[in-house]
């Protein structure tokens, strides 16, 4: 009896918590199709009008395109450099290797954080990287690389050195070894770091807001803050519609990658 009561209480509690967190999702799913959305979930009077308005907005679609450029650019840089660095770090014995890695990890949270806002802006100005996608990509890459290296090093560490030695004995050069053997074996790790980077950049507001002056170049995360009515009220119709468009690619990407790799690791040998 007591256990049954406890169970009922626990289930009720969990349901309430779930409902609490599910409400915003429901709102996101329903508001874009509502002709007159407010900050509450209601059965919409169905319309696709909001999407038409959004498509007419000069910055909305362009900003999604900018987001893609920033995310893809950063992901490319992060994956390539993190793979090279993680491979080197797990194969070459360096004194103080782990300390170095942890220090980088610690400092990296500063690079993309508010604390380094002013120096980064000054640096970007001097390098003429203000108002350019390259500047944002470089700054974000710098901030994300240490964590990416840290994540990937787990994968390179777990790859037996004998794979590479086998390739070497058959005459493969270091780059061939990397391309033919290491990269395919750690591909799930690369995919993971790739989507992690994309998700980070996709949601990042501060750096593009700081470094991109021209609204033509601003990514979706920044543009969303411009959807206000003439009266200074947030334009909920536009914001919700845009939010939906903004989140769909990330969700799709997760589904795709998780189906493709399922984050399992394939190996030939039981150990």
């Amino acid at each position: 009896m007591r256990t049954a009561l406890r169970r009922i209480a626990a289930t009720t509690f969990v349901s309430l918590v779930l409902a609490f967190f599910a409400l915003p999702m429901l709102w996101l799913a329903s508001a874009p199709f509502n002709a007159n959305p407010r900050i509450q979930v209601s059965l919409p009077s169905f319309t696709l009008d909001n999407f038409r308005v959004l498509l007419d907005d000069p910055y909305a679609l362009k900003s999604l395109e900018n987001s893609v450029i920033l995310a893809a650019g950063t992901a490319a840089i992060v994956v390539v450099f993190a793979a090279l660095a993680a491979y080197a770090l797990s194969r070459v014995r360096l004194p103080g290797r782990d300390v170095l890695l942890y220090l980088l990890l610690l400092l990296s949270s500063i690079i993309t954080g508010t604390a380094a806002m002013v120096p980064i802006f000054l640096l970007a100005t001097q390098l003429h990287l203000v108002d350019s996608h390259l500047g944002v990509v470089l700054v974000l890459s710098g901030g994300l690389l240490p964590t990416a290296i840290f994540l990937l090093k787990d994968f390179t560490d777990a790859t037996p050195a004998s794979y590479e030695e086998a390739a070497r004995v058959f005459g493969a050069s270091p780059l061939q070894t990397l391309r033919h053997v290491v990269v395919p074996v750690i591909r799930p790790g690369l995919a993971m770091v790739g989507i992690w980077t994309v998700a980070q950049v996709w949601g990042d507001f501060l750096m593009p807001f700081l470094l991109l002056r021209d609204p033509d170049k601003a990514p979706a995360s920044v543009i969303m803050y411009t959807f206000y009515t003439e009266g200074g009220q947030p334009d909920l119709a536009l914001i919700s519609t845009f939010s939906l468009l903004y989140s769909v690619p990330v969700v799709l990407m997760y589904l795709l990658v998780s189906r493709r790799y399922g984050f399992r690791f394939h190996g030939g040998i039981k150990r």
Binding site: Y163, R168, H266, G267
Partner: protein
């Protein structure tokens, strides 16, 4: 001619560990050669140094008539099979076997034809499209061998080739490897810590201890006449009896027994008398020149039994007794060495007639 020749080869690891210590070794062309030793004796390091995966600190490695000491592994013309086989998990069996040819920039069709031919010779034709994870241990080993064979190297290097197989597969693979090596006739070095494996497969064995070679010889030589106490105690599935002894009146006194010395030896010299349990004849009745004691343990070896005698001095002597003749524990027994099979060691080294003459 593609033998392997090592001269004063030394490998130091950072931190002062000397894994290979000034080692000289000549592996004749076409030999099936075992590097045998306990774990940590440097045998795998030696193999990896020959492969070029480790660089020698000093000394030279020659393969055929080339000095390869400073060459990278890919240019030494060796094929290697790793202990864990190191098959690339993302490639099919065919791609794995063809990989050395891919590095040699051979065309896709040629290298797949070559891979298929090698695979066929090892009975792998049905498995070409599988991935390594879908193969049994024995199949993986054969794929690794096929990959090593694909580029037709001058020398094969096998690192603990049987250690990842279960006991049953191991016997099968032993026969298979020996037959294959014989057919190919390619100089092959393999590393093992299992003396039975080395005796069974190799034409010649180098027994290693602490980075040095303690004896090189055919399996029969290494088994019958171990050159020193280390080899004597390491070789043989039932350990050799090594009994501290003294020479008096031209006879060896060991554990209460007075035995004829196998070599000329002066009186008063402390020696170790060595004889394998297989070379001792057990008798339930008193015989001359035999170890005498009480049976304490009888271990069944299948077709024979290993009988442990405890002599009066408390020294244990092991005897192999054929089936149906086993004594029971507590019985009194005598064990006499078979003529010509006993050995004497002085200061750890095997005594021979010419050495005693020189000393």
């Amino acid at each position: 001619m593609t033998g392997v020749e090592l001269n004063a080869l030394t490998k130091d690891y950072p931190g002062g560990v000397r894994a290979v210590d000034g080692l000289d070794l000549a592996v004749p062309d076409g030999a099936f050669f075992a590097l045998l030793g306990p774990s940590g004796c440097g045998k795998t390091t030696l193999l990896r140094t020959i492969a070029g995966l480790e660089t020698a600190t000093s000394g030279t490695v020659r393969i055929g008539d080339r000095d390869v000491t400073r060459l990278p592994p890919g240019r030494r013309d060796v094929g290697m099979v790793f202990q864990d086989y190191a098959l690339f998990p993302h490639m099919t069996v065919a791609d794995n076997i063809a990989y050395p040819l891919r590095i040699k920039k051979e065309g896709k069709t040629e290298r797949h034809a070559a891979a298929a031919a090698v695979a066929a010779s090892l009975g792998l034709s049905d498995l070409l499209e599988r991935r390594p994870a879908e193969l049994s241990g024995g199949q993986q080993q054969r794929v690794a061998l096929a990959r090593a064979m694909a580029a037709r190297p001058a020398v094969f290097l096998l690192d603990e080739p049987l250690s990842n197989l279960d006991a049953r597969m191991r016997l099968e693979a032993r026969t298979f490897l020996k037959k294959l090596q014989h057919e190919l006739g390619v100089t092959t070095l393999f590393v093992t810590h299992d003396q039975a494996e080395a005796l069974a497969m190799a034409d010649r064995i180098a027994v290693m201890e602490a980075g040095r070679i303690r004896q090189v010889g055919t399996p029969a030589e290494v088994f019958r006449r171990p050159a020193n106490l280390f080899v004597a105690s390491f070789i043989g599935s039932t350990p050799m009896n090594l009994v501290d002894a003294r020479v008096a009146n031209g006879l060896v006194e060991a554990a209460g027994a007075r035995l004829r010395p196998p070599v000329r030896v002066e009186d008063g010299v402390p020696v170790v008398y060595g004889v394998r349990p297989e070379y001792l004849a057990y008798s339930a009745t008193p015989v001359d020149a035999a170890f005498h004691g009480r049976v304490v343990v009888v271990e069944n070896l299948g077709t024979s039994s290993l009988v442990t005698l405890e002599t009066e001095g408390g020294v244990l002597v092991h005897v192999v007794v054929p089936e149906d003749a086993e004594p029971g524990p507590g019985d009194e027994g005598w064990a006499s060495p078979r003529p010509g099979r006993a050995l004497l060691y002085r200061e750890g080294e095997l005594m021979t007639n010419d050495v005693t003459a020189a000393a």
